[in-house]
Amino acid sequence: MSALITRRALVGGMAAGAATLLSGCDRLSANEDFRKILFSADNMHRWTQRALINREALAREYSPADMSPRFRANGTRYPQTPFYLDMSSDLFARWQVKVGGLVNRPLSLSMPQIRAMPQREQITRHDCVEGWSAIGKWRGVPLKLILEQAGLRDTARYIVFHCADDMGGGKVYYESCDLVDAFHPQTILAWAMNDKPLQVAHGAPVRMRIERQLGYKQPKYVTGIEAVSSLRGINGGKGGFWEDVAGYEWYGGL
């Protein structure tokens, strides 16, 4: 009998405890100091990966047979800004990718120029932060070649990608990565997917592929590549649109 009461008390206690814990956790999530600790795990994961993983290690490349029958598009499907609509009206013939910031020779690359550079083709897995994955084939210019052509200054520490998709509320999509990922052999400015020019839903005319990071770190509709010494002064200061507005990790390799 006493065991029965204890059991009942325990089950009730567990349910009440769980609810208390949960509301406690919600309150903790809103606490500025606690958030700082919670959010610092991002850096610890990055340090662990940078320390334990070969910085040149390649993301797995698959065979054509492994490809997803249909590659899901996510995020912006068709930017509705006057600029983008104007550019898409003649199939991006006037699209330019400006390379600037802390570089010795700022560049403005047209699509024919981008296609004329040495290319890399890779069949890789795209991992969305939501949990799904899709395998597709990408073709583009290694970012390393573009950055070498522009010549990075010694003070450059990050590469910021500016995009043409307006996210509403006066915010545009942008992303950034460190120089380890920027110079990684699989990091390409891609203009073709699955043997066709990039579709609008997938980022036409050019998007980034940074294969060791999650999908939101691979911006579409790239208009500018900027070398900077700090991410602080740019937009929300956290290095990317989703990082700024929702608190996603800046390092997307996890």
Binding site: A3, L22, D26, I53, N54, S68, R70, R125, V129, S133
Partner: protein, 244 residues
């Protein structure tokens, strides 16, 4: 003579040292981690409540399991926020993984694994296991000095959790990280792809919930006050035998 025997072999009713400090610290750290990881994990799952086998799997592909989103009593945070759920999950994943690693090394050093967890000769004999199952079914638990040792079912479940289920959670978790997949591509081969790893991670999480529920039932049946005290202070009152 009697006194010496008492010292060597404590009997029912004695208050004895039961759990080491390392075991107690790890037990409660782990309890906290598993709670946070499970609830935040369901919060992450809610972003795409479908599971697949293989390398890829998205909205156009066929899932082997599709669920509704888990409600606010299940997830952390209780409202839908993939970003915050990930922050909780990834922060506590570090604590969980390193705590397990330290506990394993510490338990190897203080011979907890060798003395208390490893099966002894004869314990794995079918007759012995059958007898232990029969004792459990009759809710007959060891008394006196016998209660100082884990029985074979206990050992089996602790070994399964510590050396199989928890490492499996960590490894399948790492397989979902594109950074780790580049650094350790054998993870993808081990689990048959990233989406398979995600499925195994999910199944394994529920297996741990099942362990937790059985664990709770056993604690209640064995005497919750004594059991919880032994996991906090390390002191345990040896149960008296019925005949004694």
């Amino acid at each position: 003579m009697d006194q010496i025997e008492m010292k060597d072999e404590p009997t029912g009713g004695d208050l004895v040292r039961r759990h080491r400090l390392s075991t107690r610290i790890w037990h409660w750290t782990n309890a906290l981690c598993l709670y946070v990881l499970f609830c935040s994990g369901l919060g992450i799952f809610n972003a795409h409540p479908r599971l697949y086998w293989g390398e890829y799997g998205a909205i156009f592909d066929k899932p082997w399991l599709e669920l509704h989103r888990f409600g606010p009593l299940w997830t952390l945070p209780s409202y839908y926020s993939l970003a915050l759920a990930r922050r909780w999950h990834l922060a506590f994943a570090l604590l969980f993984a390193f705590a397990l690693l330290i506990y394993m090394l510490w338990s190897l050093a203080n011979r907890h694994i060798g003395r208390d967890l490893a099966f002894r000769r004869g314990e794995l004999a079918p007759r012995h296991i059958a007898a232990d199952i029969w004792n459990h079914m009759r809710l007959r638990f060891p008394t006196g000095a016998e209660a100082l040792r884990y029985n074979v079912l206990q050992k089996g479940s602790y070994i399964f959790v510590i050396f199989i289920a928890l490492p499996l959670m960590i490894l399948t978790g790492l397989t979902m990280s594109p950074g780790w997949d580049a650094g350790a591509p054998w993870l993808l081969d081990l689990f048959g792809g990233r989406q398979s790893a995600r499925s195994i991670h999910f199944i394994c999480a529920w297996t741990l919930v099942a362990f937790f529920l059985v664990h709770m039932v056993m604690v209640v049946l064995a005497g919750p006050f004594n059991e919880v005290r032994s996991m906090i202070t390390g002191r345990y009152r040896l149960p008296k035998g019925e005949a004694a």
